[in-house]
């Protein structure tokens, strides 16, 4: 994975894992790699990965079983919410960027439709 060097690494890993979870590349209930394994996979400091798991646990996206490891939650609503939230973030960013270009929401929607038709 190519990281942006000027953005917190733990946030970039969180985004990647959230994406994998919402796309079911990481299944509900699946055991995640250990901190050490994941830090070697991403070639980052192990404390960075510990922080990733802590934050994901606070957001109730993963949970830790003592001595067993870290797992993706199985609750379908949580996982659906996660996908919705990610979609919302993308859309919000899109709307803000278009506003910065002085393009109205209506105009944006028309442009979207046009691009989709032309594809």
């Amino acid at each position: 994975m190519d990281f942006k060097k000027n953005t917190p690494i733990y946030l970039q890993i969180i985004d990647k894992l959230k994406q994998d979870i919402s796309l079911k590349i990481l299944q509900p209930g699946e055991k995640l790699m250990s901190t050490r394994e994941l830090s070697i996979k991403f070639k980052v400091n192990p404390n960075t990965v510990s922080r990733v798991y802590k934050e994901l646990e606070l957001e109730n996206i993963v949970f830790t079983k003592r001595g067993m490891g870290t797992f993706v939650v199985e609750d379908e609503t949580t996982l659906k919410d996660l996908k919705n939230k990610m979609a919302n973030d993308i859309i919000t960013k899109f709307i803000c960027d278009m506003k910065d270009l002085n393009i109205s929401l209506e105009e944006s929607i028309n442009m979207l439709k046009k691009i989709e038709e032309d594809r």
Binding site: I9, R36, N47
Partner: protein, 231 residues
Amino acid sequence: MKNLIINNLTKGYFKKKALNNFSYSFKKGIVYGLIGPNGSGKTTLMKTIYGLVKPTKGSLSFNNNKISFKTRKNIAFMPTEDIFIPSLTALDILKFYNNNFEDFSLEKAYQILENMKLSLDEKIETFSTGMKMRLKVTLCLARNVEFYMFDEPLNGIDIISKDLIKNTIISMTTKDNTILISSHALNEMELILEQVLFLNEGSLIRDINLEELRDTENKSLESVYWEVYNV
């Protein structure tokens, strides 16, 4: 938890000061980077921590013991110099270390050597520069100590060796040890370092937590390097 405490360390060679009033407290569980142009004092600092260089002024203590040849039992140091006899094999060298360091673990050394993709029975004279570096890093990490120091572990080697060395260092990082790495390879090191010390003319001029830097200033290690040294 702090383990190595350095206060007002100064090392003078005649009129020139290799270290100038350096103070710092190192903690367990952290990988530190030591950054600075050539001649800024990085190697002198490591050699002083290892008890090879005597301070002109100031104090160093490791877990409340004054730094001396005795504290060397709890600190491992990989110097830049080549230390191998060409006709020996990797196994000969592991055995030599095993006989000379009480805390050396042959079992751990075999494991690391395997991760480093080196074989035991080849002679050092057939090794490339990258393979020699991998062996040097292995020898340092195979000791069971609390504090590991590597002087330029990525200098002048191929990218495969760099990758193997980085992976090994990551896999040996624990909550109970401290790792200090000097390097010029900022881009390659910045993801495995947590805290970075910038040296200039023997003085500590900045001390940065990299995730905090990315979070609060949206900056990379390299951009800070240019700021710090003003070039």
